[in-house]
């Protein structure tokens, strides 16, 4: 790798896969015939795989490769795969290729490796058969796993009836060496998921989780934990454990643990799962050296504290768990954010390499009699050896309006697709059916084939005779052939009714509106503007900054106010960012790519047009009603304490004892969620107090310490410096009472100590409450204005928790920051870049295309009942005044997503989902009837 930012030359070595990517169709015949069996790495070596195989069932590309276990590669024997491959895709002459590419920026996404407990034989790993890792267990629960989703334990391949999980294996540990001091962040929740899956699998299985703190700090995680905990025969036990041995006969594993009620106990389990943590990726030092990057103390990539995607080298960005333990949504966020930042760097030459595709003009065949062509694919042997393909072709030719039919070895191969294009022209086909595989895999390709031939792409129909037929009925050749004919007959019936549909091109207004001028909104606005788009930044307060204005320092020691002022300056100096402070949004209308919003602000009233909207409206801090907060000025929130520490308030200087109480106003019935940041905030303030006055007694009263990720180190540091952590249960929360103690006026705090089994009393000068983060006051207003959703706790709800974490279900509207859920400043910044990335993916297009398969109203049939409007959660249908017939339902084609609920509720069939009309579906239902039966029923049909 050479060069500089914006112009790197990268040499890549591509190992031979011995399979030609342009020829392999992923049919897997070679895998079947391959004689070499060896442990399957993807399935944790639990089951076997072949030397030629597809890595896993969702792999991209979904084709095979040959690995080093191949007999031919080792001993020049065999070559069976070459003989059975009908598409001549096997190529043993392939050699290693060296490629040189020229790039402007690099994204590193090497991921992580799970901690290997066998190295230290933790909890009997490697010693006892029935001690496995959580990743082993994950594979066992998967339907494409070693036993096709059956959970079987290693020693006797029987389903375990009693399973134990041990948490924090390899995490949160400094002694003995070999493990990681940080918290791996994801294990508590993945274990809960595994418990739920286990119980769904077999409700009788007893599940026990031995844990330290339960760290359910993510969005909706608290409820998820409760869901797992409340299942019958599920126990969560807070205890350190040791594996003391196994039963030599049953191979059951014996675990020793302690409970307050029963003391030390030994119990046998059929299977023990070690919830292993996350390690840096393999050979991370080599990787760092190769790219000239620095690593942090834990061996992950060193990143900028205020920009977790930025590495120590310009032009290099990190996406995913290479920056440290992250869960899936956070990983997706950083991926989008890293993309956005590469774009900032390279925006000056955006689009230079893209080529526009040109299709021949589309013929209008809508008035012609259907001329249907049917292409039946052998898929190598995949279809052909089960379904009698020639007889299916003959049969197709007997069907009405089928003017042409042929078989093909691989319809998807380039030459066969070209053949289809030619036949369309030669035979004047105006409907095309390919009887092959699932539309999910190849419908797009064949639609394209039709466009190449000048036909509307919606004249294409796929008959799935592989996934729905040959693959699932391999041993019933006659029945499968009959079924394939039925499937083709149904497709032909449907093809008669297919209509040419137009996809709608809409121009995109390449400007963005960002609502909220805190760190999230500003970071997002800046990134969008850096790509050359105008941004309207709207803030309801008179100054930018948001909640961060009250934060002085992060746990890592970043000076927040300096950072914030710097950011605000950048915003005001950017020529493309238009700031509206003291502002209110009075109305907004439109749809993705074309919004209009009215803003009332200090600058007067204005109306702006924009293609995308970002909601970054932040959150509020809960005002406690408990713990004497409104009665006694010695009781304050952590934010107030932080301010007093930063401004060197004399109250702090005089204090001997500070007691901090966690989880005030959340993790309760009213707010059933964890505010995520408070444990870290309290540790930060505790460390700062200890720094100023090491003699001060600082107590943190907590339920679970949730200092996840690297913050665990600060928790350990605080404990090391004498901060006392005392756990309390919500049923017996600390009691506060003002008192006089040896002439000193204090607040007396009383709570039970579960370790010592008695009450303890603390005399505090200051009480600091970790008050909950709550949805901001204006949330409901934003919800109504922008038609976006909220989760049960009142935070904004993303389109998909894992895969679309910064988008709303309403298209063209995005979210970031603590409006989404409480989070750290660095996480807010990640998410802001992530949202910017999604906005830019939209704004980089000149047009967006709406699908043709959407709903349409026949005004003559519409009776204005409104059933369709009620059914449409997208708000795509409205009544519209018509000239002739008054009010009638009308569909906004941009908002319609084509689910067709409206179609099913319309009493008169006036609204129809195009491409899935009643006519089309009923024709398939009618054609599903076996032919001989159909003949009998003809006169009796209704």
């Amino acid at each position: 790798m050479e060069g500089k930012t914006g112009d790197f030359r990268v040499r890549l070595r591509k190992k031979p896969r011995y399979v030609r990517e342009d020829k392999c169709t992923g049919c897997n015949t070679c895998t079947e015939y391959c004689p070499v069996q060896y442990p399957d790495e993807f399935n944790q070596d639990i089951s076997n795989n072949k030397a030629i195989h597809i890595y896993y069932s969702q792999a991209i590309p979904l084709i095979t490769y040959i690995d080093e276990n191949c007999l031919y590669l080792k001993e020049e024997k065999c070559r069976i795969c070459e003989a059975v491959c009908k598409n001549e895709a096997i190529d043993f002459n392939q050699t290693e290729e060296i490629m040189e590419i020229n790039v402007g920026a690099v994204i590193l996404a090497p991921g992580y490796e799970e901690f290997d407990p066998k190295i230290r034989a933790d909890f009997g790993a490697g010693r006892y058969d029935n001690v496995i890792t959580s990743m082993d267990y994950e594979r066992l629960t998967d339907s494409t796993g070693p036993y096709e989703g059956q959970i079987l334990r290693p020693s006797d391949l029987k389903p375990p009836q009693k399973v134990a999980w041990i948490q924090c294996v390899g995490s949160r540990q400094v002694n003995p060496p070999g493990a990681n001091s940080y918290c791996s962040s994801v294990c508590c929740t993945y274990t809960q998921k595994q418990v739920i899956l286990t119980k769904e699998h077999d409700p009788e299985t007893e599940c026990t989780v031995f844990h330290n703190d339960i760290r359910s700090f993510g969005k909706d995680f608290e409820r998820f934990f409760q869901r797992a905990e409340e299942l019958p025969d599920v126990r969560f036990i807070r205890s350190y454990v040791s594996v003391t041995g196994k039963d030599p006969e049953t191979e059951n594993v014996i675990i020793k643990y302690t409970t307050p009620e029963e003391g030390v106990k030994e119990e046998e389990f059929d299977l023990v799962v070690l919830s292993v943590g996350l390690n840096p990726p393999p050979d991370v030092e080599g990787l760092a050296k190769k790219f000239g990057l620095e690593l942090n103390d834990h061996g992950f990539c060193k990143t900028n504290p205020v920009n977790p995607m930025e590495t120590s080298r310009p032009g290099f960005y990190v996406s995913g768990a290479f920056q440290g333990p992250l869960d899936i949504p956070e990983t997706v966020v950083t991926a989008s954010g890293a993309g956005s930042q590469c774009g900032e760097l390279l925006s000056y030459r955006k689009g230079d390499l893209s080529v526009e595709r040109v299709y021949p003009p589309e013929m209008d065949v809508s008035l012609e009699e259907p001329r249907i062509g049917v292409f039946v694919c052998h898929c190598g042997a995949n279809i052909g050896r089960v379904v009698n393909v020639p007889s299916a072709v003959d049969y197709a030719l007997t069907l009405p309006n089928v003017v042409y039919a042929q078989e093909q070895l691989f319809s998807c191969a380039t030459n066969c697709a070209e053949e289809i294009t030619e036949m369309i022209k030669e035979q004047d086909l105006n409907r095309v059916i390919v009887a092959a595989c699932s539309p999910r895999t190849l419908e797009m390709l064949f639609r394209d084939t039709l466009r190449e031939a000048g036909l509307n792409q919606y004249y294409y129909e796929m008959a799935n005779i592989r996934e729905h037929c040959s693959w699932v009925h391999p041993r019933q050749k006659d029945e499968a052939t009959q079924k394939a004919k039925d499937i083709i007959r149904m497709a032909v019936a449907r093809a008669h009714h297919l209509e040419p549909l137009m996809e709608i091109d809409l121009p995109v207004d390449k400007k963005a509106l960002v609502v909220g001028g805190g760190i999230a909104g500003m970071t997002c606005a800046l990134s969008i503007a850096e790509h050359g788009h105008h941004v309207y930044l709207v803030e309801k307060e008179t100054e930018l900054g948001g909640t961060a204005r009250q934060v002085y320092e992060t746990l890592e020691g970043l000076d927040v106010q300096t950072f914030l002022n710097d950011l605000i300056k950048k915003i005001y100096r950017h020529p493309l960012i238009h700031v509206y402070t003291g502002a209110e949004i009075t109305g907004t209308a439109g749809y993705i790519g074309n919004f209009t919003t009215k803003i009332q602000s200090a600058r007067g009233n204005t109306e702006v047009k924009h293609g995308a909207t970002v909601i970054a409206t932040g959150a509020d801090v809960y005002t406690p009603t408990e713990y004497l907060y409104d009665e006694d000025n010695r009781v304050m929130t952590q934010l107030e304490l932080e301010e007093k520490i930063a401004t060197e308030d004399k109250m702090i200087a005089g204090a001997k004892t500070v007691v901090m109480i966690q989880c005030v106003g959340c993790r309760n019935e009213d707010r059933n969620y964890c505010s995520r940041i408070c444990c870290n905030e309290s540790v930060k303030n505790a460390l700062n107090l200890k720094e100023k006055n090491p003699e001060m007694d600082v107590y943190i009263l907590y339920r679970d310490m949730r200092t996840y990720g690297y913050n665990e180190d600060y928790y350990r540091e605080a404990a090391g410096k004498g901060v006392v952590f005392i756990r309390y249960e919500p049923e017996q929360e600390p009691q506060l009472e003002p008192a006089e103690e040896e002439g000193r006026t204090v607040i007396k705090v009383t709570l039970p100590d579960y370790v010592l089994q008695k009450n303890i009393e603390l005399d505090a000068d200051i009480i600091a409450l970790a008050a909950a983060v709550i949805p901001s006051a204006g949330t409901r207003e934003v919800e109504n204005l922008f038609k976006v959703g909220l989760n049960p706790d009142g935070f904004f709800k993303e389109a998909h928790v894992k895969l679309r974490p910064v988008e709303f279900a309403a298209e063209g509207v995005y979210l970031c920051g603590i409006a989404h859920y409480p989070k750290m400043i660095s996480e807010t910044i990640s998410q802001a870049y992530g949202a910017a990335g999604r906005v830019l993916a939209l704004l980089s297009n000149d047009i967006i295309t709406a699908s043709g398969a959407i709903c349409e109203v026949d005004k003559n049939k519409c009776v204005t009942c409104g059933a369709c409007i009620d059914a449409c959660a997208y708000g795509a249908i409205e009544f519209e005044e018509t000239d002739e017939a008054g009010l009638k339902a009308a569909v906004n084609p941009v908002l319609c997503k084509g689910d067709g609920l409206c179609n099913a509720v319309c009493p008169t069939g006036a609204i129809q989902l195009k491409h899935f009309t009643d006519e089309e579906l009923l024709s398939q239902i009618d054609a599903a009837v076996p032919e001989e039966e159909a003949a009998e029923k003809k006169e009796t049909a209704v």
Binding site: S57, S143, T144, E148, G149, S438, P439, N464, R466, E467, H468, W471, V472, H473, P474, R475, Q476, E479, Q482, K483, D486, I487, M490, G789, A799, A809, A853, A867, D870, A871, C872, A873, Y874, G898, D899, G900, L901, N903, A904, V905, C906, P907, T908, G909, L913, F916, D918, L921, L922, Q924, I925, D926, A928, V929, E933, A934, K937, T940, A941, V942
Partner: protein
């Protein structure tokens, strides 16, 4: 995933693709039964895990539970209709439930005959339902639909008295009239003949005939002493 994982299941099922289980409607189900299909299966996403934001699978659940009640009303075994909720990854679950469903339907035997319905009655009954589809859609979305959170709540609602009352009030009578007019399309018939053909009591038939006569749907032919379509 059943296909990709090559799980083997029954060959007795033909699949029709819709983008959302909520797209399936009453007409589709009863058209299939009218065509002589012995069973209809609907596969939808897991409840509350909607691929869209519309939760159309709850619509489908409503439809199925209502349709089962209609089937029972016209003498068909409601087990011939089933809905199951699954994710696209749960191929093994799909294979299992489809096998189980086909097994159930096979045991139930051929449509109609196994329920002791003669083919003509079956045809008339299904025709009567099919003709009523627009009406049922309307009352379904306005009056009969349950709005609940869980499968159990839905099932409880459709098994409850409130639903039974609404069903009688909104659908049963309409259906009877639809059955009678469907029957009379063939030829004029006496009350007794109608009662026999439809398996309803003569007094009920009289009541419906009087109502229909008042609405101008049927008339009494004095000479023939039979009812005919108006």
């Amino acid at each position: 995933m059943a296909g990709v994982s090559r799980l083997q299941y029954t060959t007795e099922i033909r699949l029709i693709r819709v983008m959302c289980s909520g797209r399936v409607d009453l007409a589709h189900l009863f058209r299939a039964f009218s065509n002589g299909m012995d069973g209809v299966f609907i596969g939808g996403c897991r409840l509350k895990e909607c691929n869209y934001i519309t939760h159309g699978n709850f619509h489908a659940l409503n439809l199925v539970l209502l349709s089962k009640r209609i089937m029972k009303h016209i003498g068909l075994n409601p087990d011939r209709l089933r809905i199951e909720f699954m994710s696209s990854g749960e191929g093994n679950f799909f294979a299992k439930v489809v096998d189980d469903f086909v097994d159930t339907v096979s045991k139930a035997g051929p449509l109609g005959i196994s329920e002791g319905l003669n083919p003509e009655t079956l045809r008339l009954n299904l025709k009567a339902v099919y003709r009523l589809v627009p009406y049922i859609r309307l009352v379904e979305s306005e009056r009969l639909r349950g709005h609940f959170e869980t499968l159990e709540q839905f099932e409880a609602f459709y098994a409850g008295e409130e639903f039974e009352r609404l069903f009688k009030e909104l659908i049963a009578d309409k259906l009877a009239i639809s059955q009678i007019t469907a029957l009379l399309q063939g030829k004029p018939l006496s009350t007794g003949e109608i009662s026999e053909a439809l398996g309803l009591s003569p007094s009920d038939i009289s009541k419906h005939l009087n109502n229909s006569a008042r609405q101008g749907l049927v008339k009494y032919d004095e000479e023939e002493k039979r009812f005919a379509l108006a």
